[in-house]
């Protein structure tokens, strides 16, 4: 089942140099993808296009068969797609728990025990209750990254985009996180797209894609 599909996608920041050049690719649910490529090749750009944070210069992106340029982007970002940013993008004046709760609120989660859900989610990525009630500024880089992961998972989106998700983590934790993401793909039928430089990720994802001179290629 194809959840995300890019047709003839091209993108350029300055309308001169094409960062993405005529990309055609589709992503399925239940699969964990890994996108690799040299620094500066446009991986983050590609991800922000998928997240609806930017729009293609030409071409279309379809989510579940709908052109996302014609969808309500706010609802798309808050419900359908979860993004773990390379630089976390957490709100520094809130605690870890509040960051997760806010995302749940924005996605209009009506669950009664949101707080409990958020805490157990944080626990799952390795943030205990004491740390969950600390402001994110007082957490380490790796802990902040986990909070970002918990936030992306909190509203149960069908697609999760993870940018350099393991860059700040040690081998063991990296393994844990990749494990969690893989299980989400296999058990919960989600579409996971991980951007990484790590060999461990390369060896453990279901499908590897390379971004090179504006094109996405398998192997």
């Amino acid at each position: 089942m194809c959840i995300l599909k890019i047709c003839d996608g091209s993108f350029s920041y300055d309308r001169k140099k094409l960062i993405l050049n005529n990309i055609n690719v589709s992503f399925k649910r239940g699969v964990c993808y890994g996108i690799f490529g040299k620094s500066g090749t446009g991986k983050t750009t590609f991800l922000s296009l998928l997240a609806g944070l930017d729009t293609l210069t030409s071409g279309c992106i379809f989510y579940d068969g709908n052109d996302i340029s014609k969808m309500n982007k706010d609802k798309y970002r808050s419900n359908d797609i979860g993004v773990i940013f390379q630089s976390f993008n957490l709100l520094p004046h809130l605690t870890a728990l509040e960051n997760v709760l806010l995302a749940m609120d924005i996605s209009n989660n009506r669950s009664r025990n949101k707080k409990q859900d958020a805490l157990s989610l944080l626990k799952k990525v390795g943030i205990d209750e004491v740390k969950a009630k600390r402001r994110v500024l007082h957490l380490s880089g790796g802990e902040q990254q986990r909070v970002a992961i918990a936030r992306a998972l909190s509203y149960n989106p069908k697609v999760i985009l993870a940018d350099e998700v393991t860059g700040n983590l040690d081998k063991d934790t990296e393994r844990d996180i990749v494990d969690i993401l893989k299980r989400l793909a296999h058990d919960d039928d989600k579409c996971i797209i991980i951007i990484s430089h790590s060999d461990y990720v390369k060896e453990n994802v279901d499908k590897v894609l390379f971004l090179k001179s504006g094109n996405l290629k398998e192997n």
């Binding site: 808050s78 630089s87 004046h93 509040e98 995302a103």
Partner: protein, 493 residues
């Protein structure tokens, strides 16, 4: 709902910027509260003053007009006399009136005070009379005799410039020749209360009038008005007060034999009449009435309207000043608030970018920022208005307290000035009227005044701040609308 929760969290966690905004709004609220209270209190004072201030009207001969008149008209001219004054006063438009009679007299029995450069301190009648003096300069007498139909209009005694120090005040109902003389005159001639002195009309030294001294007054000058007219008449120490019946008698004994119009006028020039009108708007009607009753058309009407307006100038200036201060505060305040809000929003670009990236809609973000501003404004408004109300109330109370206590001591001393008698019902003039009103209805009036103002002020300040907040909100909205989440996030990294 979560938006409100988030707004509260944001205020609590980032209290620095909330406090900054709060202090600014507080200051604006306090200063607009104070200036508004001052403005509305002074406006109320002005209104009550105008309402209570008596409109005093008198008639003066239009000499230029009379000079140009034909001889027939001059001969037909009839000057204002006491009976006409009484008739004019007998009108529903007139709430009160008084007239003064003045005559200059001479005496061989006593010596007048005659240093040449002397300070003149008397009511305004004397100053106006200056025009008339040259006509009778050759034979003017040494003493100025003045009588008031109602002595409670005798300003010098009311305001304390003159004071009875011995004996008692005159009695207008008495047919005796009474007088009160100055301290200087009594000392120079060794006169005490009960002594009699003979005076005569300057042009008729044969007929003398035997006056009894009933009182001696002291006078302290508090006014730097110098007269450069030579002559003993102008010496304030030679001012003698007597009763109406005495002067009437002297004037009727010495009718003007001259056929010439001017002489006749100057003979009656000693009569001045003032009418206190009950209605400010009735001036023209009153003049028509007076003309119908026989007032010569060569008289023109003089009022104290300008004087009233002049005396209101300081308080009006306060009112205007506080208004301009208020406007300035609001303009500066609006600029500062908007500036601070813009800086706040620029500072929060990243936060806004994150919120947009995780799918919060522009509308919700604006809602959150607006509610933050409203909560902060509301809290600081409540604080600011309370401080402003308390302090402005204190200031106003203090101001009024001072005025009232000075009034209370006034009333007592007026009675003292007249020799301790209270046979005159003291009429309050000038600004005392307003205070009188305050006094009569006791301090309640003051409280009411302040409270009612505060309510109006409160609503006004509140409205103003609301408008300011809404304006700054619109500006923030226009800023946020320009933000695209990816751009904000990328700029930050």
């Amino acid at each position: 709902m979560y938006i409100l929760k988030n707004a509260m969290l944001s205020i609590k966690r980032c209290y620095g910027r909330s406090i900054l905004l709060g202090i600014i709004i507080c200051i604006i609220a306090v200063s607009s509260c104070i200036s508004l209270t001052i403005k509305s209190s002074s406006d109320i004072l002005v209104d009550s003053y105008i309402e209570d201030e008596e409109l005093v009207v008198s008639f003066e001969i239009d000499r230029g007009k009379l000079q140009n008149a034909s001889n027939v008209d001059k001969n037909n001219f009839s000057a204002l006399d006491v009976s006409l004054v009484k008739e004019i006063a007998n009108s529903s438009l007139v709430s009160d009136y008084y007239y003064t009679l003045e005559v200059s007299m001479s005496s061989d029995a006593i010596d007048c005070i005659d240093d040449s450069f002397i300070e003149v301190n008397d009511d305004d009648n004397k100053k106006r009379d200056n025009n008339g003096f040259p006509n009778k300069f050759s034979n003017m007498g040494d003493y100025r005799f003045t009588a008031y139909s109602n002595f409670s209009y005798l300003e010098d005694f009311v305001n304390g410039t003159k004071k009875i120090i011995e004996g008692e005040f005159l009695d207008n109902d008495s047919s005796k020749y009474q007088l009160i003389i100055s301290e200087d005159l009594s000392q120079k001639n060794n006169l005490t209360v009960g002594d009699t002195v003979k005076f005569y009309y300057p042009s008729n030294s044969k007929k003398t009038y035997k006056f009894t001294v009933v009182g001696i007054y002291s006078y302290t000058s508090n006014n730097d008005d110098f007269s450069f007219m030579p002559g003993n008449l102008m010496n304030a120490s030679n001012q003698i007060y007597t009763n109406i019946s005495s002067i009437s008698k002297i004037l009727s004994d010495n009718p003007s034999s001259d056929v010439d119009g001017f002489k006749r006028i100057s003979n009656n020039d000693g009569l001045k009449a003032k009418f206190i009108l009950s209605d400010d708007l009735a001036i023209d009607q009153f003049k028509d009435e007076a003309l119908n009753k026989g007032l010569s058309s060569y008289y023109s009407l003089v009022t104290n309207q300008e004087e009233i307006l002049n005396s209101l100038k300081p308080i009006k200036n306060i009112s205007n000043f506080s208004l301009s201060f208020l406007v300035l505060t609001l303009i500066v305040g609006a600029i500062v608030i908007i500036g601070v809000n813009i800086i706040n929003i620029r500072d929060r670009k990243y936060e806004i970018g994150v919120l947009r990236a995780i799918g919060m809609s522009k509308f919700h973000i604006i809602l959150q920022l607006v509610s933050e501003m409203f909560i902060v404004s509301l809290i600081s408004l409540v604080i600011g208005i309370s401080i402003g109300t308390l302090s402005s109330q204190g200031v106003t109370n203090k101001m009024l307290e001072k005025e009232i206590s000075s009034y209370q001591s006034d009333i007592q001393s007026i009675q003292d000035n007249f020799g301790g008698q209270d046979k005159f019902s003291f009429r309050s003039k000038d600004n005392r009227n307003t205070l009188n009103m305050f006094m009569n209805s006791s301090n309640n009036y003051i409280d009411k005044l302040i409270v009612s103002t505060d309510f109006k002020v409160l609503a006004f300040v509140f409205l103003i701040s609301l408008v300011l907040t809404i304006i700054s909100c619109f500006i923030s909205v226009s800023f946020i609308s320009r933000y695209e989440p990816n751009k904000i996030l990328q700029n930050r990294i």
